[in-house]
Amino acid sequence: MNLSDYKDVYVFAEQRDGKIQNVALELLGKARELADANKEKVVAILLGKNIKDKAAELIAAGADKVLVVDHDLLETYLTEPYTEAITQIIKEQKPSILLIGATTIGRDLGPRVSARNVTGLTADATKLEISDDEAHEFRMTRPAFGGNLMATILCKDNRPQMSTVRPGVMQKLPADPSRKGEVVDYKIAFDEKKISRVKIVKTVKEKKTVTDIAAAKILVSGGRGVGNTEGFAKLEALAKELGGEVSSSRAMVDAGVMPADRQVGQTGKTVRPALYMACGISGAIQHLAGMEESEYIIAINKDKFAPIFSVADLGIVGDLHKIVPMLTERLKAMQK
């Protein structure tokens, strides 16, 4: 493998039902920065059916070029056709870097692509950078050991250098409709026999809660100290006054009090709201991993030794069951 043959930063532009996923735009923002550091291009790979009109959105988000593969087999994600399409692009285009969103789709696709192309894949990176020395090394940093350690990973001798990145970690650029880019119709030759090995019987969308806590500007989050549904009702009331959403620690999801899509943390969602109010959350390292990037953190907890206070900007040692309703009333009174 001649490493100098490989260039440019490629992004897998995940779409579902023809809608570009937010994580793809976030990755384009980061790819732009990486490509600029190496004076390279940002190329988006867009797979689907009748999706060519979405290319403009990717260019506005930072892509210089969009490779569109329009095919019946690519309408809904399936491991094999997606792996094969990306593999053929890798073989022909020789990307230096390939970024994939760490969604249930990306985490199924990424390892399959890496194994087919015999290259390394860093899982769920939280920081990507080009070293500012002469080597211009691509460094991928990720949490390991349940979020207790950070590890910086290199993929020195194999290409592309692949990484998945969790949604909500990178920042997308403001959309710039005046940006110019190239849109290429890309053809892939599929092995139909191999592709038909997995069949989709049905895809079911469950409207659990419409809100995505990762997109919320204000989160009122509850842990074990909140106790039960009644406790969470107090948090709901406060969130409503603040114009925010309610999220939860893992403990309350495991206890069945809160749904899984409201969970913040290593095994839940990564959030970085303007305000994160941690109520009755002790602050296990796995929880902190999912919220410590929040701009302003207020913690309310009875236990003054709770680890959550180590990341809080404002810590209140006290009873959330008293403070939260009083705060809600106070905010209500202020609005009048």
Partner: protein, 261 residues
């Protein structure tokens, strides 16, 4: 039906504590456990054994002490346990790990391979799909449930998605990666524990798997760790012990100061 379940021994990362002074990990006294997603996958296999009389094998790649989770699996009811252990396999990243496990699987007869979705010490979710790729088999990851049709040798799998789920079908032989949250693993039985110690744990070295040396261990790993460091927590702010009334005033003032309200 023959099922092979790939399992891993991991430190219980929920028990890991940080030394507040040095910011380093306190590794002492952290128990080793069977990785939760793998244990979920094992339970799915044992349910297929209950229903269809499937023969269930567990395999783990690791240090000799990983035998403990194989004994646990035997006590839960599996038929055969294999420990793949060799210095040559050390220092492996996910690609080299999956190459070694795929090599072992190639020597075995199976209809279904089950792995956990991801291990709690690495959280990569890569080894299952990579095994499937090395073996050129179809895969479904994030499995929440599966059903089997004996006549057509077809598995019907429910796959978890962020916004719902998918029902997928594939024929044996194939690979699935299982979610711990989808199933409650059975406990070891007393008789299971007793007989687990009478059963043999097969110990395999790298010579058993017929994979070139440059595809396993450190040599077969495209990725390397440049550096590892404890997570830097941002400096703590101020913590106050006040009356509820004073606390509310303080919060209101801070929210105003930060232009949140």
């Amino acid at each position: 039906m023959n099922i092979v379940v790939c399992i891993k021994q991991v430190p219980d990362t929920t028990e890991v504590k940080i030394n507040p002074v040095t910011g380093t990990l306190i590794r002492e006294g952290v128990p080793s456990i069977m990785n939760p997603d793998d244990k979920g996958g094992l339970e799915f296999a044992l349910q297929l054994k209950d229903q269809y009389g499937a023969h269930v094998t567990v395999i783990t790649m690791g240090l000799p002490q990983a035998e403990a989770i194989l004994r646990e699996a035997l006590a839960m009811g599996v038929d055969r346990a294999i420990l793949l252990t060799d210095r040559k396999l050390g220092g492996a990243d996910t690609l080299a790990t999956s190459s070694a496990l795929a090599g072992a699987l190639r020597t075995m007869d199976f209809d279904l391979v089950i792995t956990g979705r991801q291990a709690i010490d690495g959280d990569t979710a890569q080894v299952g799909p990579q095994i499937a790729e090395h073996l050129d088999l179809p895969q479904v990851s994030y499995m929440e449930d599966l059903k089997y049709d004996e006549k057509t040798k077809t598995f019907t799998i429910r796959k978890q998605m962020e916004d719902g789920y998918q029902i997928l079908e594939m024929q044996a032989p194939c690979v699935v990666t299982a979610l711990a949250s989808a199933v409650k693993p059975r406990y070891m039985t007393v008789s299971g524990i007793v007989t687990a110690w009478d059963k043999e744990v097969e110990v395999w070295g790298a010579d058993r798997i017929n994979v070139p040396d440059d595809r396993i261990g450190k040599a077969g790993s495209p990725t390397s760790v440049f550096k590892a460091f404890p997570k830097q927590l941002k400096p703590a702010g101020e913590t106050f012990e006040l009356t509820p009334e004073e606390s509310v005033e303080l919060i209101i003032n801070k929210l105003k100061e930060k232009h949140i309200i």
